[in-house]
């Protein structure tokens, strides 16, 4: 299949950036990133600079790949990361727009690569259970109902890619933050710090410059792992409980 690509090229964070048009020949079995590999090979052969993009596992789990394809983070397929998107979902002659995730809290590094370290700082603010190595008792002394474990797991499958932020008109990080808050708050091990955790994480989220949630729910629709917005509702409850009902305010 012959494709026209309109790719966002930006040399550095200060560069203004622009779309550049490329032609590439792909086949339907390729993944989207393999199609970009082919383009980059052509560019290198022509001694032009290849397109920079983040990628690593190419199995949909590391969360590194991060581009917006035709206006949708990770492209047109639901619950699919860019690396797992295959060209069989495009047609010969298609024009495809490829841009970086856009959000104030995710500054562009180069081309399609953005800096998502804000997510790390939110986790550092409280996305953990305070247990030192060696302190734990036997695993089976903490019993967890199967359904609770499943619910916590569903929230914990977040890969930290940032598609939720890119999808949101406010560039809000509520889905990401609430997934971690939920994962830990649902488990008995995580209850003890739940109040401090939610307050600290929300505070950091605000400091990083993410926007507010206005219930657009685009985050859920675009999340490659299908993280549910129920988590946002749960985080709001946890947050209100913590601010108004707990002595532990931060």
């Amino acid at each position: 299949m012959k494709l026209t690509l309109k790719i966002w090229r930006q040399k550095s964070p200060d560069d203004k950036g622009r779309f550049v048009t490329y032609q590439v020949e792909a086949n339907e079995h390729m993944s989207f990133l393999e199609m970009l590999d082919v383009l980059n090979q052509q560019l290198i052969e022509r001694k032009e600079e290849p397109v920079a993009f983040d990628h690593d596992c190419r199995e949909g789990i590391c969360g590194a790949c991060s581009m917006v394809i035709n206006g949708q983070p990770h492209g047109p397929m639901q619950k699919t990361t860019t690396c797992q998107l295959h060209m069989r979902h495009f047609k010969d002659g298609d024009t495809i727009y490829i841009e970086p995730f856009r959000a104030k809290a995710f500054p562009v590094v180069k081309d399609l690569v953005v800096d998502r370290s804000a997510f790390d700082r939110i986790i550092q603010a409280g996305g953990f259970i305070s247990v030192d190595t060696g302190q734990a008792q036997d695993g089976n002394t903490i019993l967890i109902p199967k359904d609770t474990a499943t619910e916590a797991f569903d929230a914990a499958t977040c890969i930290g890619c940032g598609a939720c932020v890119a999808a949101c008109p406010n560039a809000s990080a509520m889905l990401f933050v609430s997934a971690k808050v939920s994962h830990l708050a649902l488990l008995p091990q995580g209850r003890i710090e739940a109040s401090r955790r939610v307050q600290n994480m929300v505070k950091q989220m605000d400091e990083e410059g993410f926007g507010r949630c206005s219930n657009v729910t685009a985050c859920e629709a675009e999340c490659p792992k299908g993280i549910s917005i129920t988590n946002i509702a749960r985080m709001n409850r946890e947050f209100l409980k913590a601010v108004f009902g707990s002595k532990e305010t931060v």
Binding site: V38, K47, D54, R58, G139, N140, A156
Partner: protein, 667 residues
Amino acid sequence: MKQLDGHIPPGPLKEKWTTYRSTMPLVAPNNKLRLDIIVVGTGLAGASAAASLAELGYNVKVFTFHDSPRRAHSIAAQGGINAAKNYKNDGDSVWRLFYDTIKGGDYRSREANVYRLAEVSANIIDQAVAQGVPFAREYGGYLDNRSFGGVQVKRTFYARGQTGQQLLLGAYQALSRQVALGKVELYHRHEMLDVVLVDGKARGIIARNLITGELERHSAHAVVLATGGYGNVFYLSTNAMNSNATAAWRAVRRGAYMANPCFTQIHPTCIPQSGEYQSKLTLMSESLRNDGRVWVPKKVEDAEAIRQGRKTALDIPEEDRDYYLERMYPAFGNLVPRDVASRAAKRVCDEGRGIVPTGLGVFLDFSTAIERYGKSRAHAMGIHNPDEATIRRLGEQVIEEKYGNLFEMYEKITGENPYKVPMKIYPAVHYTMGGLWVDYNLQTNIPGLFAIGECNFSDHGANRLGASALMQGLADGYFVLPYTIGVFLSNEIRTPRIPTDLPEFEQTEKEVRARLEGLMHIGGSQSVESFHRRLGKIMWEYCGMARNAEGLQKGIRLIRELREEFYKDVYVPGRMDEFNPEMEKAHRVADFLELGELMCIDALHRNESCGGHFREEYQTEDGEALRNDEEYAYVAAWEWTDLGKDPVLHKEPLVFENVELKTRSYK
């Protein structure tokens, strides 16, 4: 050649670790505050070690080339983690896990290390549960287990098909907590390009800031490498695209020994290659072999018809299918260890019975399991005489609960629905058992330089069992290194902070710069990628699933030629002082071009077959691996000399005091 000493503590096997741990020198809490440690890599081993060391009070600097520590390739581990908990009451014990691992590794690992690994395995599960890792549970709320290859008990803990992700996030969160407490300094998008030795001890690293391209000097009292395996030397593997050997290889170039580099694991269940453009291969977890049955048609004509699209799997009647693993290895069936399963797949494909257009693929079929689970769930739901559609629907439900994400991933990649038609799989490079040589303390032969996780060679011998990589990475990071590093550091409490303006730092930085500039200035006409692909083909052809002396010699020659061509004709676009992924790739591939040769040299010298190392000249009449314990029961640790010169072999004899060396049989 000299003999290497693994510094294994004396005493009976079962007491070694406990006694050693209780009598080793310690670093007092106030002294820990004055000692700096560099940890390179944030996978399971690196993140768990960095967190644990910081909790103890050391000042830790952590480096990752990713944009976040959470992206390390441990995240992609699917199936599970082993632990000798015996929760299933099925006869598991520390001894049995130890024995399975030694046997699974074809008697090419150290008894003392493996026993220690089995001993601490249970603690890992406890630690992970306390961190909030959402392991699979039974209805009563207890932890669930499943079975993996090469064992006859259920000791594998899992979190759907994303166990690695959940365990890594647990370690990442523990690490993040220490970052917040100021005990860990995190350097993301930084790649280690060399280790700095001062007076023969590892005292720091040279790292490249991948955003600015600047070279930075970082010093510490000790350096820990947790940089993973080197499977990407094969170009196509299940490793992540950026996984590389540079950190470990640069340590080798500074004098660290590389142990058993030819021991690579070819995983039997990966999605077959579909075309030349392919960038990587995708694993389908070994856990699928709990329920999937591996088969090819009995008749070559049927296989041919399937390859040409004239028939499908469903057209082949039961009596014309060859469930070859069940036929050849009735005691373990589809759950034979990886090396055995991979070779069997190669054999049936070599016979012309492969079922994908390239001829390199076999079926993994879930229809029997779907039927079994469907009947059992119908029974549990009180449905008597269920019809076939109901059985199928309920059975598919059970399979989805167990392997849902894997089935989804398979469908995304291949466009085929594995609930309806059997998966197509073929072996692919997955893990490297070889790695930096370390002693019992996980210290390399360079004082102060430690290697943990897949980066070292220590625990898996010539073949790793499923669900043991996560176990080893976390054992090293949480429960072994935090103790053993103290043996070295207890002698360093009077050493002040290491300055980075020492001539050794200056010199090493200069050499790194020269190396990078050299690559940039070649200005040839071929891309880095094209060299990597060609290297991968040579490695797979001559140092892959089956090897022989003639092929290995040819492989060595071809690699040398390719390396020469690389330094004459590679083209690296962009500049050094900017974000430049192509230049990152260039120096990684340059190092692969040296490591690949050493792998072939090692494979050529080991005149026996063991585990993942199958030399065609050394096999039994029925095609099984033929070990030579008389001559090769040792660790081959290679010392680098110079390009084009032969490396020096050092041997560490493997002494088996507790297990009897037997021919490994899964029949």
